[in-house]
Amino acid sequence: MTASDAFPRGSACIVGAFESPRRKAPNIHPYQIHAEVIGAALADSGIGIEEVDGFATAASFPAEAGWQLNAVEIAEYVGLKPSWIDSTDLGGAMSLSHVGHAVAAINAGLCKVAVISYASSGRSWQLPATDFNTGRSGPGQYEVPYGASTISAYALAATRYMHQYGLTSEQLAQIAVQMRAYAALNPQAMYRNPITVDEVLSSPMISTPLHKLDCCVVSDSGGALVITSKERARDSKRGKGPVVLGFGEAASHAQMNQMADMTTTAAEFSGKRAFATAGLTPADIKVAQIYDSFTITVALSLEALGFCKRGEVGEFVASGQLAPGGRLPINTDGGGLSSNHSGRRGMYAIIEAVRQLRGESPGYQLDNPELCLVNGTGGWLSATATLILGKAS
């Protein structure tokens, strides 16, 4: 076994999962949402809070209301007493990392039942959802004065990719249109009215070439997962929940001027490792949850993960491959573009993968899928994590 495929494949299961139905929660502190979703995920698993000995979360974004030691403070607020704690912070990809790390920890005997949670009031909490990529000291002082924001960072990548490969704004818009079509089926989705390519293109331009409808929703919400060993899972309410088959994570850059190639992402590495650890290839995957902070995030990720060749994602999208019956339906709950994105969407993408494998998607449910890939992208294409989940066997 090489380092790249050293992962305890199939040794742990996701036995509890819950996505908050909240989308707009004015005056609700994010920690309250942590408690709500942890309670609901544990109820979903049938495992009591007294059995929880592992906890992973991070709350460093302003709208998550965390301060120093935020994982410790949230554990205290909820009433958890963890003896294994992880607060890895990969931006929107963080919950995927927490799952991978929890599986390794459970396999190593560091904990038996791990709870992973995330909550943010990106829309309504009083703290600003900062528009900047980094602070104005250290590395950020050479970028912040120019106003490099999250949206404009993704726009920089989009401009370069379109220049190199001829991707069109219409093709990017088709991604948003398809996500909205899935959201239309999901009663909890934030926006459900169908949209057209023309409506995306005529929505206000925010940062060329990205329009308002190329960008994700901004919500208040949260989610939680319960993970335990395959052995403990057998006796849980859900039985053997989806198993974690593969995992990879990778960091690329923080400042946009340090990103070597803006036409791809670190998912080239995290995806390769996830496939290697699972013993699978992209051809095996028939449904996926691909982080969709912006339409361009989906385009770059699909290529980086190997679902289409470099430069060909525009045609892949235009030919309907993301739609029902296509090569790869993605974000079957409506994704971040239409259903839920409170700042870091990774948690919701994992939960939708779990629901697909349980046959419980609130959006578009595929017929008995065996596998679901989840890819998270954090920061400004800065870091990624990839999970491959399999149906209980």
């Binding site: 528009d131 104005r136 106003g147 401009t159 400042q255």
Partner: protein, 135 residues
Amino acid sequence: MIEVDSILPAKDAVSTQWFEGIAQGKLLLQRDPKTGKAQFYPRAHIAGAPDREPEWFEASGKATLYTYTVVKRSVHPQFASCTPFTLAVVDLAEGARMTTWIVDVPEEELRCDMPLKVTFRDIHPGLTMPCFTKA
């Protein structure tokens, strides 16, 4: 909402040297004395070789446009008042890449890979930064 933080650089021992260059109309870069490879942003060490100190030199000011975005809307009051502005990442002739603004180039004339030259502009009250324009 709590007041959003300033966007002016919080300078340190290394960046002070870079900003002093700007005050003299010079775009300073660093290079690895061992390999000659240029680096940006400035650090007290060579990225990937923390035990090696870089040396400063003046860049030619020539660059090509790697990518850009015309920012039409910003939630930050300081930048909302600047819109539209053209944020860019440029490849300096010396081999390093930096974040900047493109100035005096109409949106319809912007093209990736177009040649550029440096120009120094007061982009915020009290702050001069290197920007680039058509070569």
